[in-house]
Amino acid sequence: MKPAQFDYFAPASVEEALDKLAELGYDGKVLAGGQSLIAAMNFRMARPGALVDLNNIPELSFIKPTADGGLAIGTMTRVHTVEHSPEVIKRFPLLPEVAHYIGHAQIRRRGSFGGAIAHADPSGQLPGIAKVMNAKCLIRSKDKEDRWVDAADLIIGPFMTVIEYEDLLTEVVLPPNPPRTGSSYQQVARQHGGYALAACASVLTLDEKNQCQDARLILMGVGEMPILSDKIKEILIGQEPTEAAFKTVGEAVQSEIDPSTDLNGTAEYRRDLIRVLVPRSLALSLERAKKGS
């Protein structure tokens, strides 16, 4: 198992990278952490003509607070760095909670935050988490205006995004959560670090009357891409967050998911997992929202 031939470029700045991507056109492919791409190249499922390696561009690795209380994360920030960043832990505890389940420690040391989102693997966690966190993605290219794309609009299919071959995802901005917001992640996998058979993450915000001001839910591993639920909003917003209501959500989202059967589990089993994991996640998010975290 060895990759096919390709040309290699290691620009030292974003500007240089954008020039190279524009010049290479359809042959060019961005190499970020490489923990998915190089595996795919070893299998020769991916055979890019040329790689533009971002690993020598220090300006793409950062975690910066934004003026409104959110965070901006550079595309090449390693998942391990995100997982252990005090800023991230304080503002977005959902991220370290999820990161813990991404691959293994050695993968997280090298794998990049932006790369995982841009890769849009339907079984990856970060594309879905970016969606449920209302993340905004900055896409730059040599000849076009910089554009901000909502994570919800970024992914258009399995391994497919609106990022074109001359484009580069340079940073992801996470908007702040209102006070009294709680979030949580639930998954079932065959082994720790393995792909989740089904997973979900929820974000709940309570108003002063303890009713749901906002409720967001992402369902993963049960469709061709992470599914942001509409049903949860119909059921919970403006309502009392009760155990019964959470169970109703677990039932209602059955019409939104489209799981498939494979060696590890049947579609029916995945539906059952979602039925169980969604109320579990919502109960945990509620508990955390009450604590104000």
Binding site: Q5, Y8, A39, D53, I107, R109
Partner: protein, 160 residues
């Protein structure tokens, strides 16, 4: 014509200069170009952990990095730990506690555990299990590996 790129890599404190094709994996560079066969190659897609090395001190899969990307960086492989006469305390512990049978996964496990014990010198059993969850062993059933890591942590913290 394949592109050839000149690289300068420090491996186990020795500087090597080579010309490589971009598609050469770091794991193959270490084995075939440098003749350091301690780094084992199992699955070549990041699942088994046998090829784990330290890249600037961090444990990573050498099969998911190209050799060209190691240019200017510092690599440590299992050969950096000890010699047959003077084993590293972690190697000693694996020897004493039967932490290996066929030994294929062992270099990857050692290179995962060395930085782990530096960060967490007194790990619990659960923490050890989690630390090595990215390394597959098909012989031991892991129990003896856990015991070895526990024994190593005692050895290393008592300075023996």
């Amino acid at each position: 014509m394949a592109q050839l790129i000149k690289i300068k890599v420090t491996v186990n404190d020795t500087v090597y200069e080579r010309e490589v094709e971009p598609r050469l994996l770091l794991s193959d560079f270490i084995r075939h170009e440098l003749g350091l066969f301690g780094t084992h190659v199992g699955c070549e897609h990041g699942m088994c952990g046998a090829c784990t090395i330290l890249f600037d001190g961090e444990p990573v899969r050498s099969c998911l990095i190209f050799a060209v990307q190691a240019n200017g960086h510092e690599i440590k492989t299992v050969e950096s730990l000890g010699t047959p006469e003077h084993l590293h305390p972690l190697q000693e512990a694996f020897n004493e506690k039967h932490g290996l049978q066929c030994g294929f996964c062992t270099p990857g496990i050692l290179m995962t555990v060395v930085p782990f014990l530096e960060e967490n010198p007194h790990p619990s059993e659960d923490e050890i299990r989690e630390a090595i969850d990215g390394n597959i062993c098909r012989c031991t059933g892991y129990e003896k590996i856990i015991e070895s890591v526990q024994a190593a942590s005692e050895k290393m913290s008592s300075g023996k």
